[in-house]
Amino acid sequence: MLLRNSGSAKTTIRSSDITPEQTFHQHNQARRRFLAGAGTLAAGALATRYMPDLISPASVVHAAGTPLKTVPGKYNVNEPQTPESKSTTYNNFYEFGTDKSDPSKNAHTLRTRPWTVQITGMVKKPQTLDIDSIMSYRPIESRVYRHRCVEAWSMVIPWDGYSLSELINFCEPLPSAKFVQFLSLVDRKQMPDLPGGYDWPYSEGLRIDEAMHPLVLLTFGCYGNTLPNQNGAPIRVVTPWKYGFKNAKSIVRIHFTDKQPKTTWNQQSSEEYGFYSNVNPTVNHPRWSQAHERRIDASSFPHSIPTLPFNGYADQVAGLYSGMDLKKFF
């Protein structure tokens, strides 16, 4: 299969979509005038004073990492990036609480050193690898990917890591291995808010040919620094053409198997979250449309943009699914 880098992929933002700066300021002024009038309600001041817990500005970035030595990557999306302050405070990392502001408040309890990753299952030699040796195994590339959550919002994030295929090759899976499973840390001591009702540890997986695709990033950092805890430190995967929940965070074990692994959200609600979960605007989530997404970038209110098949990576990855009914294997 011919792999093309995303420099040739079409970008989703038309220049007409970008708000001219002047218009933006005009709008802001109009809004300010309106709000200034309405905001004189005496209750406003009272409310702000007595309801501080009801909003979560959560500008705290826990364990904002140390700078990483990176090399420029080949796969970069040329779209406005999501500010770090947003992508590190709006996270689904249920082990640290189910609200999206919870992980940035709670994940400071995660201990990322010492950290090891077990390599198990159908490999030539099962072994335990130390995080620092994994990180130094290959040069760390910086890659700017689109990130599409199954909840219909999206971001553009500069990740730092190297292709998962490099580590898989190092693990030497047996020919019988058809799937690779990622298991996340579960530890009540570090995760006091671990919610009940889920079959922990968090489990995700890919078909091995998917996992070998160079776009799948074994990720150690973002924005040039090691991952903040709430973003899945110290090691996670990023599969940019799939919904975000496919990207297991804080991985402690990589398991090779011949059977499709049980994955957390699929087990939880199989009609809502398929094993494949490729981004697909024509297959709606039972409870909402997947045709559009709210793009979270530097603008104050997210704009709604059309969702692209395979999150805009169809050129590179659609071939993995040729002949498959993607409505059935969603």
Binding site: A30, A43, L46, I55, T98, K100, W153, I296, H303
Partner: protein, 233 residues
């Protein structure tokens, strides 16, 4: 209860019930809201939560005032509280239509200011298929919308002259639908959260408590009713 005290309490209630809305305006103005990565999601949950809290507060009046004749005056605030529940439910619905659905409100407002009202329609045409699809297919939308329609009909019939025109019995029959609205609102909440998320349990517990109190009261009354008759005989 002296008139002045009632008035004072009413002013206090207005301020208190407007406080969440004022807070929302305040954080939009001072930039706190846009620090939130997904303000649309935030506003949606904020207005929905408060609609539900206030609706439950209005349902708490009756069981509370039954506790003692001394607090029977509470009934005089029920309509006010109920109307605020409708106010927040309407904000919630408007958030869904003009922000959540993909309607680009900021762009539409700028266009309107520049004398292009057509943009409002363009945006509506753009999101209409999504909204229609939601109404047809998604049960959490259906049940939430049904709850709002009930609250709308109760709000429309809340003025005293309409109540008189309808006759007390009819009016009461219609306004008992508030129970359906509250149950529908809580079901709406359960159906929208992800599997395994239990956030709605608190409001559910409160609703069960409030409905249970009514059932208990009715049962007690039914049992104690014959007693005075026997006594008078």
């Amino acid at each position: 209860m002296p008139k002045r005290a009632i008035l004072a309490i009413k002013i206090f209630l207005h301020l208190g019930l407007l406080a969440p809305f004022a807070y929302l305006l305040q954080i939009s103005r001072n930039g706190t809201l846009v620090q939130n990565a997904d303000p649309v999601n935030y506003i949606t949950h904020f207005t929905g939560d408060w609609a539900l809290y206030i609706l439950l507060a209005s349902l708490a009046i009756t069981p509370l005032r039954r506790l003692s004749p001394q607090i029977a005056f509470l009934i005089r605030f029920r309509r006010l509280i109920g109307l605020y529940a409708f106010f927040y439910a309407s904000l919630h619905l408007a958030t869904y239509i003009f922000l959540f659905s993909g309607y680009d409100l900021p762009t539409a407002l700028i266009a309107l200011k520049n004398g292009q009202p057509g943009e409002l329609v363009t945006q509506a045409k753009f999101v209409w298929p999504t909204i229609w699809d939601d109404i047809r297919k998604r049960r959490f939308i259906q049940v939430g919308f049904a709850s709002w329609v009930i609250l709308l009909s109760l709000a429309c019939t809340s003025p005293a002259f309409i109540m008189r025109a309808m006759g007390g019995k009819n009016w009461q029959r219609l306004h008992r639908l508030v129970y359906v609205a509250a149950i529908a609102a809580v079901v709406h909440f359960w159906w929208l959260v992800k599997s395994g998320v239990r956030t709605p349990w608190k409001v559910t517990a409160v609703l069960i408590l409030l409905l249970g109190a009514r059932l208990a009261y009715t049962a007690l009354k039914a049992r104690s009713k014959p007693t005075p008759k026997l006594a008078t005989q």
